[in-house]
Amino acid sequence: MNRRLVDTFLFNAGAHPEKACVCCGDAVLDYGDVAGQVLACANALRERFDIRRGDNVVMSAVSSPDYVIAFLAVQYLGAVTIPVDKLVKPDALGKLVEYVNPKLVLAGGSCGYSGDRVASLRETVRGAGSGRISSAPAEMADPDVAEMLFTTGTTGTPKAVMLANGGIREITRNTIAGIGMRADDVVLIPLPLNHSVGMRVLRSVLTLGATAVLQDGFAFAKELEVNIVKHGCTGLVCVPTSIEVLRQQMQSKFAEVLGRLRYIELGAGSLSIPMKRKIVEELPGTIVYNTWGSSETGGAIFLNVTEHQDKLGSLGKPVNGVEFAVLRPDGTFGPAGDPASAGRMSLKGGMRMSGYYNLPDETSNALRGEWLVTNDLAYSDSDGFIYMLGRADDIINVGGEKVAPVEVENIAIGFEGVRECACIGVADPLTGQAPVLFYATEGGDFSESDFKAFVAQKAERHQVPRCYVRVDSLPRNRMSKLDRKALRRMWEDSAAGEASSRNAAIEAILTRKSIRDFADEAISKEDLETIVKCGIHAPSAHNMQTWRFTVITNADVIARLKDILARKAKSYKTVCYGFNNPSAVILVTNDRRNRNAAQDCACAAENMMLAAHSLGLGSVWNNAISYMQEDEEVRQVLEAVGVPAQHLPWLLLLMGHRTTADLKSPQRREDVIKWVV
């Protein structure tokens, strides 16, 4: 039961030494070859560097058999493997070394890092040769830590995730069960081996006695084809963005090449729903999985995309042995059956990490009782499928309304021509935060105004992006995972971000138009308060502020006003056009002694129309009432709604929810502008 990964590997090597273990390029190393080199390398590590149980060994995660051999050799000695990116810069590596204080750094060829504890990974492995017996004793690792993986937390500071033998065994079991991996699988791994996904698949292969094909990245699609054909790959593990890269390069060969595979597992991110549909259509004979996992848990939630066409919006279901709950606001754990009760996703099971190395606060924040608390907001449906709303930190608070970026992204990606998009929350003077959408197109003609209209029509009002930013492609990290922090930096750095409030105002001014037909839906009290607040912030002559704003939502009063204006307009030699079905009316009046009454009211009216427009509402100015300021019936209504007798009515603002997303402003005359310079 206590068998370590390396023990299982050596057992497999004894049972079928001739079977291919690791392939890379033209090289094929069988289990016997690899085991011999592992034992020899373990000897060398003990003799040359005195590596012993519990020692930390940092190693460059090159995609080659050397790395696999060194990894297993360190494990054999009961020491702790700590892989780092093969392209890590010397400064960054220096910081990591300072943090985990390794006894040895097995560096890649051109890493440029030097020190007294550094040796070349390649030379250490190749120089050790091969032996069937090790003179160095096999030792059990420390019960708490056999491996460490670096993960970047929300602060951007790397944390070393400690995994114990027991946890690693469970992570391996989960991947094998979740994907249905088999001993006869030949799995292509073009992912970096210092990350959770690549490592858990490699461990699963070695545990099953299957074959791993290592490849340095997926940038060159042709290399995938060569490997798949040459080594007869049956499985591929990759990241979601790789699919589009492969498709673009392979074009018509995409389905033919990838269709040779029994399965494809996509980890470290979700494929969008249209992309899931598309790939299943293109590859009818290949099972496609999309896995949710983390360094802290390994792959834990698996979605068989091919089988569950009705659950494409979900992450899938936790594999057997993994339990799901959410952390509730009161600190307890329980189920969440709908988006409203979503909370931080928490998982229970043997696959949990042991903690973050030397970071007690971060550890106690993540490990609570038997649960591991993630930073992902999630809930589950009645069939046990889990849905993620985004990172807890990414949720956007728009004037108290919570907007999950994924909700906006799922709408936006539905517009034809949008290749990828991402939504973040940015500071907004009016609503605290507001969504901003970054998007990239597939090229060709693209109408941003049609796109905006499409989103505005499908999205809830508070979900509508305040600003759209078109980019060539979204920023991603080495695992091709969307980098929301980079987006936030882009926003802050951009002129748009710096002057976001001004630009939002200009945007509102340039896109506002009169709306006369409204949906049968009330405007919220908060919105009306915001709108009228914008009204009182308008300038008034000599700052008199003698105006009054009467907010009317009472349908009877609105109907009465409408009736009077429509009936009497002609006799007052005016028209009352477009008074249709507003759900709210703001009556603006001013003291009859104020000589600037009309101008003040007009300024306030424009402020309020812009505010309404910014909030996704429609409005129109109706000034028929200014023609009948002393009309008896009008005065009766004014009195009934509490307007002082010395006040004259200047205008009505009619407002409501828009029924149309068409926000094309009418043509403006440019010839009215004259310059005197």
């Binding site: 093969k86 392209l87 051109s110 340095d216 990245g217 997926f218 940038a219 060159f220 699609a221 042709k222 290399e223 963005t241 790789s242 890269v245 673009q248 390069q249 392979m250 074009q251 060969k253 090229g443 060539d472 492609s473 991603r476 080495r478 091709s480």
Partner: protein, 83 residues
């Protein structure tokens, strides 16, 4: 188009389209694993748009993308084949 002209255009294009990427850090950029998939995708689309061709799948190899010079050679060959 002269080879030198193509080389100049490729260099200028790469500098414009990927200003943050140091194309001089190695003469074997692709073989050293320095081109990730997104960088390569941007290079491919920049070249395709600039010269008006689709780079065939079989030509998207490490040896063709090791340096601005090898990319220019690829462009020259594709332009010639087209002509």
């Amino acid at each position: 188009m002269e080879t030198s002209e193509i080389e100049a255009r490729v260099s200028r294009l790469l500098k414009e389209e990927l200003p943050e990427f140091d194309f001089n850090q190695s003469e074997t950029l692709a073989e050293d694993g320095l081109l990730d998939s997104l960088t390569l995708t941007r290079i491919i689309s920049a070249l395709s748009m600039e010269f008006g061709f689709v780079i065939p799948y079989d030509d998207i190899t490490r040896s063709n993308f090791n340096s601005p010079a090898t990319m220019a050679a690829l462009v020259a060959r594709l332009l010639q084949e087209e002509a």
